[in-house]
């Protein structure tokens, strides 16, 4: 546990931001990454996303702060993260990807670092801007999102040892896989409910008759 959360591991997350290609290679082959750090980064991302939506200055933020629920957002972000990792893993297993589930989780989690930084910087900066300077705020946010997307792309590419084209194809397939997983889960839940209600009605019949 200590080893997974060590200072080295944290520093490595920032090294990944500055040298994505090399770092992702070492994550895959030299075990430099850490899944707990990745999960903490996902939670941090969710928090900074919610904080940005709630407390960015209303000059640049057209959201009703009362309509934002940080807890629901945290759960949905974690769920999406899990879905993406599992979806990507199941697709790349079939497409000769070299990455393990662990590597995918680390690649996706570490890729969120630029967004965490930029969302928080943006929230602070938004307290200072006027309407005319709002463009700078949107630039900060857009920069964070773009950097994260590029990092995620590089991460998936390096971890599985893919070409760029193949990475794009697998990411597209990953989204389809995610949809299928959601569909299957919903179907399963529905069936379970029906089975449950079946047994429950038997139970009720018995109760009323005995």
């Amino acid at each position: 546990m200590n080893e997974l959360f060590s200072k080295e591991k944290w520093k490595y997350a920032f090294y990944t931001v500055s040298h994505p290609m090399d770092a992702y290679y070492e994550i895959r082959h030299r075990g430099r990454g850490s899944v707990p750090v990745a999960i903490v980064l996902v939670v941090l991302f969710s928090l900074s996303f919610s904080i940005n939506r709630i407390s960015a200055s209303f000059i640049v933020n057209d959201l009703n702060p009362l309509a934002v629920n940080a807890l629901t957002e945290l759960f949905s972000v974690l769920l999406m993260y899990l879905l993406f990792c599992v979806g990507n893993w199941s697709i790349t297993c079939l497409m000769e990807g070299e990455g393990r589930l662990k590597d995918i989780a680390i690649a996706a989690g570490y890729a969120l670092t630029p967004m965490i930084v930029c969302f928080n910087v943006g929230t602070l900066f938004s307290q200072y801007v006027t309407l005319d300077e709002g463009g700078f705020y949107y630039m900060i946010i857009a920069f964070g999102v773009a950097y994260s997307l590029i990092m995620a792309l590089m991460g998936i590419m390096q971890v599985h040892n893919y070409t760029l084209g193949k990475t794009l194809v697998t990411i597209f397939l990953t989204f389809i896989a995610m949809l299928i997983i959601i569909f299957v889960v919903l179907l399963f839940v529905d069936l379970i409910t029906q089975v449950y209600s079946f047994f429950y009605s038997i139970y009720q019949e018995l109760i009323f008759r005995i």
């Binding site: 209303f58 000059i59 309509a67 200072y128 006027t130 309407l131």
Partner: protein, 492 residues
């Protein structure tokens, strides 16, 4: 002994309960049959104090004639008399300004020696030049009379090549501008409002509402064959429902918008829509509407009244509500409702303004319902009116009065915020403009306040930085000296 104590306690409790209930009843004594509300920036409903309260009604019987039978329109003349188009009784009834006296009944007129009558007069209007225009719907003509009922002229049978072959002219609503041009809403005239010159010549259509076809509908029409297309519904523009005119000759016309986005138009003399929309780009009445049932769906405006100083009110027949907007398209207040209590409508068809009062004609019960403005309504009307006149400083006192009655009124907060901004109190301006969710002016106030802060703090900031630099330099020198001394000491 103990029992007695309990009994006494219970009695005390009862007395207290009765007292509190009694007080509560007092508070709710003047309960209205409807809520007055508005929509906030976030498009939530905000209940406000009442802007208008029911103030009696008038019917045919109450003024001393037979009851109205499905009256369809009413009009307030420049001299204050109220003209009612009593459609099913084929007559025009003229009431006094206070709607308690009968002035006269016009049930026919003498046309060049022949007695003539109306057949379902649907619309009525009195021009600025004091001439009475009656949309005599089943006789397919507009009859122009003096207010006393003397025949002046008839406008009928419009001739033009833009009219369809066999066009049936059935006028429903009519209004007249300062130059005696006549604007007529006719049945099945989907191309817009018919305009007649003062001579009675038809000049053309006016203010056509564009047909809206969604992308989806276009896609399906593209897929359909010619035969299928001919069987589909035609895309027909919606008709206008009510009409009014302001002193500059701009026509306000209401229509039923199935999307609930724009239910009123302000048409310039060329027939172009020049209405101003508010922040949310909506002039369609209720923003929150149900999805199912007869009570659901967007508001259906059946009439409009221009009330002066840029303020106009719209009458919604779906839920019996009256929506009031200002010149900039801000929603001021909403009140009214359907029902059978006093002050509610069954089939509201026409709305007019008499001084401070709003009057609404109900076709089903044949009554005119009167609503008088409250302190809250008067303050809003005055403040908006003063802003329309360009007298922002005078408006502030009114807005402050509004805030005392409803501290969440966004328009009032915005008005006061702007005043503080003009006065140079940027920090207070920011507070009010944020409450008003006025992004544009808040941004201006914040920029000025930021500059103020910077101007104030730039001197001290530089002093601090200067002192720090000097200290660092001194410190370095001291250390160097010490090192040099130590070196020297070592050397010595």
């Amino acid at each position: 002994m103990k029992m007695k104590k309990i009994k006494r306690f219970a009695a005390l409790l009862m007395a207290a309960a009765v007292m509190t209930l009694g007080v509560g009843e007092c508070v709710h004594a003047e309960e209205l049959p409807y809520d007055t509300y508005t929509y906030t920036y976030w498009e939530d409903i905000a209940i406000t104090p009442a802007a208008y309260v029911p103030n009696g009604s008038a019917s045919g019987l109450s003024v001393g004639t037979t009851d109205f039978a499905e009256p369809q329109d009413l009009c307030v003349a420049p001299d204050g008399l109220v003209y009612v188009a009593d459609t099913k009784n084929n007559r025009i009834v003229v009431l006094g300004a206070d709607m308690t006296t009968l002035v006269r009944v016009i049930d026919g007129f003498d046309r060049d020696g022949n007695a003539d009558t109306f057949n379902a007069p649907y619309g009525v209007c009195v021009s600025e030049n004091n001439q009475l225009y009656v949309a005599d719907s089943n006789n397919k003509r507009i009859v122009v009379l003096t207010p006393e009922g003397e025949f002046l002229k008839i406008i009928d049978n419009p001739q033009s090549e833009i009219l369809e072959e066999g066009f049936d002219f059935v006028p429903l609503k009519v209004t007249v501008d300062y130059a005696d041009r006549v604007y007529v809403i006719a049945k099945n005239a989907f191309e817009g409002i018919l305009v007649f010159e003062s001579t009675g010549d038809f000049t053309g259509y006016f203010g056509t509402i564009d047909v809206k076809i969604t992308l989806w509908e276009k896609f399906w029409r593209r897929l359909a064959s010619k035969e299928e297309r001919s069987k589909q519904l035609l895309f027909i523009p919606t008709e206008f429902t009510g009409i009014d005119i302001d002193s500059d000759g701009f026509v306000y016309a209401s229509n039923i918008d199935s999307e609930g986005v724009q239910g009123v138009r302000r048409l310039n003399p060329r027939g172009e829509d020049v209405i101003q929309k508010g922040e949310n780009e909506n002039l369609g009445g209720d923003l929150i509407v149900g999805m199912f049932g007869t009570y659901a769906g967007p508001s259906e405006f059946t009439d409009v009244v221009y009330r002066g100083r840029g303020i106009y009110s719209l009458l919604d027949r779906k839920r019996g509500r009256i929506f009031t907007y200002d010149k900039e398209g801000n929603l001021l207040y909403i009140f009214g409702g359907l029902g059978s209590q006093e002050g509610t409508f069954n089939t509201p068809v026409a709305i007019e303004a008499v001084g401070d009062m709003i009057i609404v004609l109900d076709a089903y019960s044949g009554t005119i319902l009167k609503f008088s403005e409250t302190e809250y309504g008067a303050l809003i009307n005055d403040a908006v009116g003063l802003r329309y006149d360009g007298d922002e400083t005078e408006a502030i006192a009114k807005w402050q009065g509004v805030l005392k009655l409803n501290e969440n009124n966004e328009l009032a907060n915005s008005g006061i915020g702007k005043a503080y901004l003009t006065a140079g109190d940027n920090k207070t301006a920011m507070k009010y403009l944020k409450l008003a969710m006025n992004r544009k002016y808040y941004s201006i106030a914040w920029r000025r306040y930021r500059n103020e802060l910077m101007a104030k703090s730039i001197g001290p900031a530089f002093t601090v930085i200067g002192i720090v630099i000097i200290l660092v330099l001194l410190y370095k020198k001291v250390i160097k000296n010490k090192l040099a001394k130590r070196k020297g000491g070592l050397a010595g």
